[in-house]
Each structure stands twice: as C-alpha cells, then as structure tokens.
C-alpha cells in the first residue's frame, strides 16, 4: 500500500476528528437537573493523599453512607494547594468541568474571599453548620459575609510537644504554668547546654507569620477581627512578639527556617530542640517523620499560659472541604460531606484514617476518643491533652488581603526576632506597608 500526501492529510484529519470525539465523550456532564438519588460518582481535588484515602474509603463505608439516597464513589485528583483555587477559577471561567468537592488549605482560602469568588463557586454550608452552633469548631476562618463555605478537616490544635527524658535530665518541670517561666528556664538551659525549648521560623514570610500567628492566637490576639478589620497593633500582639524576641535573644527559642525542613530535622535528631509548640499533625509530619528513633521519649501537654492572659491552646494550619455549587451532583456532594464531616461516625473514621482531630467539640470527651493512646508519645492518653486544648481553641478570622499582610509583616517580624527593631515598631512598619498596598 502506498501513501500519498493527500491520503496522509485525509488520514490525519480523520484521526484528529476521532480524537476530538473521544475527548468529548470523556467529559462528564456537570450542568443539568440536580440528581436527587442514585449513583453519584463524585470528583474531588485535594493535595493530601490522606484525604484521598479517607474519602475513597468513606464512599464505600456502609456505616457512613449506607442509608443515603445516593450510592457513592469518589475519583480523586491530586493538586497542589495553591493550584486548587487557581484551577477552580480557570475551569469556571472556561466553563470546563469542575470537581464536586475541593480541599482548600487554610492559608489559601483568603483568595476565595475576594470579589465573591467563594459565593460564586461554592455552596453555602451555613444550613449544615448552623444546626451545630458552637459545637462545631473552626468555621470562622472559612466564613465570608456570615456564610460558611468549607468545613475544616482537622482542628489542628497546637500543644507543647516535649522530650520527657530531656526535661527530666535537665530538671525542667513538665507542668510549668506560664510562658514567662518556661522562657526563663529555657534561657538557663540554653546557656548551660545549648538546647532550646522551642523554635521560631526565620524562613519565608509565610512561615514567619504563621509561627507568630500561632503564638498570638494563644494570647488572645489576632490579625483581623470578625468584621475583617486589622487588629495587628493590639497590646496582645505586641506583647507576644516581644516575648518571642526575648526567647530568641536568650537562646530559649531556636530560629529555624522551616519547621519541616532539614535544619529542624537535624535539631531534633541531635536533641538540640527538646520541645516545640506545634499542632497535633506535627507529631506525624514533624516528629515521627524526622525522629522515629525517639518514639516513646516525646510527650504532649497544653501550652503554658501567658502571665497576662490568653488560653492554653492555639491552632496552626488546616484544610477544609467545600462543595462546588450548581452542579448535577451538588446535593449528593453536600450529603456526602455532611456524613463524613458532621457526624460522630465520620469524625471517628477521619481520626482512624489520618489522625485528623474532631471538629465536633463534644466528641473529645467521649470514650471513643478518651481511651485512645499514642505509642509515639509513650502511650499517653492523648485526648486528655487535645480535649483540654480544644475546649479553649482560639477563634480567629481571615480576610481577602491576608497574603498582603503576610508579605508586609514577614520582614519586620524577622527583624524584631533578631533584635534589630522593637516589636511595636516592627508591627507598625508591617501595617504601614500593608495599608499602602491594599486596594482601596
């Protein structure tokens, strides 16, 4: 058989047309009459394989979805956290298929708060959350104009992880009452042995500001109030930064670029860093990942209070799931998310799947959770600590310009931590830079 030019062109055109037809057949219908029951093949975008496993298993878990009007399956696409929002917007603008559910990282969510993006893309979850009232924790950061658009997966309760063996050897009481006391002890330890009882980030702006936020939430401070107004220059915020700078200057707090990076791993490995305030998930991603050989040596406790006020807990990070609105499977996705995230069974399954802490406050006191022990933490009944911390979980708010604030505060906070400027001056400088940049 000979192939001439005309034949080649005709063949190529035919293959192209067939390919287009095949591609069109692959697309799934996203618009149309809502499906009220039956088979619901949900699509999900997330960055975390843990959530992918949980939702995939939950779809087949009769205990969770057995009595639902829908029969679920979940197809997961792995997408990096910043790209999830970018792609949601791109797909919506291009009128291409959107996922039914999307995992939105806490720090990325402010992008959804600008110009009605959340309102236009996501289903309002307030009817689901209202019924639970204050019993459902951490809805505020995902609230826009009084409406909740995503449900948090993990409370990310911050506690003090510490090396019980090192504390005992150095004579540090495990029940120190205040930060001020702990920093004094830390200064002495640093002078004697070079070890640190905490860390601060001196890496990127995001890490620097997140570390600061964790400390100031505990003190009762914040970056924005419920109306989205800036509250950076509050007394609490200044006090916290002063205390952190004092800790760095005495060596009690060790400056490390990235809490998950190699330098932190080295500090943990050589027992230079013997305590740190971090959220519950740091035990898995920070401690167990970097120092598995220290299993049984670590313990957790609630964070010492500040002498001037505040609570015994804080929070850092998190990922919430939202449901894309106005799709055939929107109702099905809402039902699925409610079953997975707002029922005791769903919360227990989530903890079993990836150690995600419950967001329903009442569950911390139930035997299902109270009886759990953690081998890495020396078989400690860990929910005694998490429960106490969750009871005082600070409430905080986000705003559309949070990314601008992070970039504005990062440099000045770092200089304050290094002792190159005062805490109040640093925060004022950051606020000035922020106000120059935000759109009127």
């Amino acid at each position: 058989m000979t192939l001439n030019r005309r034949g080649l062109l005709a063949g190529a055109t035919g293959i192209g047309a067939a390919g287009l037809g095949a591609l069109a057949a692959c697309s799934s219908p996203t618009a149309g009459e809502p499906l009220r029951s039956g088979r619901a093949d949900l699509t999900l975008w997330t960055h975390d394989p843990g959530y992918a496993t949980f939702f995939t298993d939950a779809a087949a878990d009769a205990g969770l979805v057995g009595d639902s009007a829908w029969t679920y399956s979940v197809a997961v696409t792995s997408v990096a956290p910043p790209d999830i929002i970018s792609r949601l917007i791109n797909q919506a603008v291009a009128q291409r298929p959107l996922p039914n559910m999307a995992g939105l990282e806490l720090g990325q969510f402010p992008r959804m708060m600008r110009d009605g993006i959340a309102e236009n893309l996501l289903a309002d979850l307030t009817p689901l959350t209202d019924a639970l009232g204050d019993g459902l924790l951490k809805t505020q950061p995902y609230t826009v104009d009084g409406k909740v658009y995503a449900l948090e997966s993990d409370n990310s309760v911050s506690v003090l992880f510490y090396r019980a063996d090192e504390f005992e050897r150095l004579g540090i009481p495990a029940d120190v009452a205040t930060w001020e006391e702990l920093l004094d002890i830390g200064a002495q330890v640093a002078a004697d042995t070079g070890q640190a009882i905490g860390m601060v980030s001196n890496g990127g702006n995001t890490e620097i500001v997140q570390g600061y936020m964790q400390a100031l939430f505990q003190r009762g401070g914040g970056l924005y109030d419920a109306d989205g107004d800036l509250i950076v220059l509050s007394e609490e915020n200044i006090e916290v930064l002063e205390l952190m700078a004092r800790g760095v200057s005495t060596g009690a707090l060790l400056p490390l670029a990235d809490p998950y990076g190699s330098a932190t791993a080295a500090a943990l490995k050589e027992s230079r860093l013997i305590a740190t305030v971090m959220p519950n998930w740091y035990k898995v991603y920070g401690l167990e990942a970097n120092v598995p050989d220290q299993a049984g040596l670590w313990r957790a406790r609630t964070i010492p209070r500040y002498a001037n006020g505040g609570g015994i807990a804080s929070t850092l990070g998190g990922t919430a799931f939202g449901v894309v609105k106005d799709q055939v499977l929107t109702d099905a996705a809402l039902d699925f998310l409610q079953r997975c995230y707002l029922t005791p069974e769903g919360q227990l399954a989530r903890y079993a799947a990836g150690a995600y802490l419950p967001t329903l406050a009442d569950l911390y006191d139930t035997p299902d959770f109270q009886n759990l022990t953690d081998p890495y933490l020396g078989d400690q009944r860990i929910f005694e600590v998490y429960g106490a911390a969750a009871a005082e979980l600070p409430v905080f708010y986000q705003a559309a310009d949070l990314a601008v604030l992070r970039d504005s505060l990062g440099g000045p906070i770092l200089r304050a931590l290094n002792g190159q400027t005062g805490a109040e001056d640093a925060l004022r400088e950051g606020v000035d830079a922020y106000e120059r940049q935000v759109s009127p």
Partner: protein, 305 residues
Amino acid sequence: MTATTDTAATRRHRAQIRQRRWAPYLFISPFFILFTCFMVVPIGAGVYLSLTRWAGLGSPEYIGLDNYVRLFGDQSFGASLANTAFYTAFALAVVLPASLLIAQALDARGLKLRDLFRLVYFLPVVLSPIIIALIFGLIFDGEYGLVNAVMEALFGFGGVSWLTDPWWARIVVVVLVLWRWTGYLTIFFLAGMQAIPRELHEAAEVDGAGPVRRFFSVTLPQLRPVTAFIAVTMLVNTAQIFEEPFLLTQGGPGESTLSVSMFVYRAAFQRQELGYAAAAGVVMFAIVFALGRIGSSALGVGRTR
C-alpha cells in the same frame, strides 16, 4: 462548441492563477495564525486586563490607568525592580566573564579530561531547580549549613545568616545564578572559540603575541557575535528571573529578594489581583523589550559582519 471549450479553459486557467496567487499566503499562514493566537491576542488581552480590576471570576471592571498609578507608588514593585536590576547587573558583570574565562581554560590545547569538565560545568543546567534550591538551602542554612560549618572550622566564625539577612540572601541568590548558568554559557563560548581558525592564533604567535595579547586581539574580536548573542539572551532571561529566588527564599526575608516576575506571580496567584498583575507584567514586558532592543542594537546582534 469551440467557444464553450475556450471559455472553460479560460476559467480553469484563471482558477489556477488564483490558486497560485493564494498558495504562498496559505503556506505561510500557519505561522501568522499561531503568532496571532499565542502572541498578539495574549499580549493584547494582558494590556486590556491591566486596565481593569479583576479577581478571576465575573467581568473585569475597567479602571483606566489606576493599576499603573498604584504600581508606580508601590514600594514592593520598586524593591522588585531594584532586586531584578541587581541580579541582571551581576549576571552581565560576573557570570558572563566567568563563563568566558572557563571556556578559554577548557579550550586550552592538550587539556586532559576536557569532556568530563564540560559535563561537570553543564550539569547544573539539567538538574531540577527544586533539587538545586533544596541543596542550596542546606548549604547556606544559618544553623546547620555547610558554609557556616566550614567557616567555623577554618576561621572560627560561622554565624552568617545567609538566607535570613536581606543583603546575604541577595548574594546567595546571585551565587545560585552564577553556579547554575555559568556552565551553560561556557558551552556557547567554547563552541565559538572552536570556530576561530587556528591560523589566526598561529599568525599572532609568530608576530610575538603572548597568550594574553592573543586573547584580547584574536579571541575576543572573533567571539563578538557570540558574546553579543549571549549577553542579550542573558540580559533578557535574568530580567525575568523567577525560579532562583522563588525556590530558595520565596522572595524573602521580607521582600529583599523579590524579583519582578515573582511580583507578578504573587499579585496574580497569591492575591487574586489579576489586573494589577497584568499591569506589572506589561511594565516588565516594556522594560525587557527595551533592554533587549538596546542590547541588540549596541552589540550588533544579527548584523552581518
């Protein structure tokens, strides 16, 4: 009958002429169609977008030149321009001469392991930027970094905050640029040097020229077209630098290593200010275009000798 045949033949002839007249345009049309779709339209859309306020969804709101006014009063944009100028000046003043000198060394007659050296110098270009950034992060870490450890061992001090001090962070970024791109440019210079006729060097040697004189009187003039091309390419590429500061320092500490490309990215994909990002992109385009034209014109890129 004859008249009918004549008319048909004339029609066919005219159709053939028409076909021949349109054929060249048809053949060159793919370039223009693609150029319009992927260059003209995006640039036009970018310019239009720069005159709007748009978060990504809904209709862009026309605001005239407000984004440009805001841009030129934005200290962050000023910082990113200054940082980019620093990176570009360093690339031209250090990376370019360094690669020329390395190429000269590799071009030496009788050099053993020449291919191994070429491979080693070229290696940074093919390594993943993410791996490079991780390795540089380890080397320059303030607490546990290799550089500080070596300095401590050799000189008794090693407490330099390489990545957390604004000035040192800029230096580390340009060191990364130097390490990453010198080998790549060396390959171009080496290719240029190997194209220089040996007779020219031999004639200069006979006339009593030493190695330094031969370098300045033979090698450099002969390399002028290559040097001009590399200089302009480096200028344009460095003016759009993104990967090195983004992966190594994320623009920090503060905004001390922020480049203009990062500024555009940050405005668009971290702050959802697409109109503002487009305005910064248009300004960057204008600057890079102008620098590229000035460089090409001054160095005679594309001119026949």
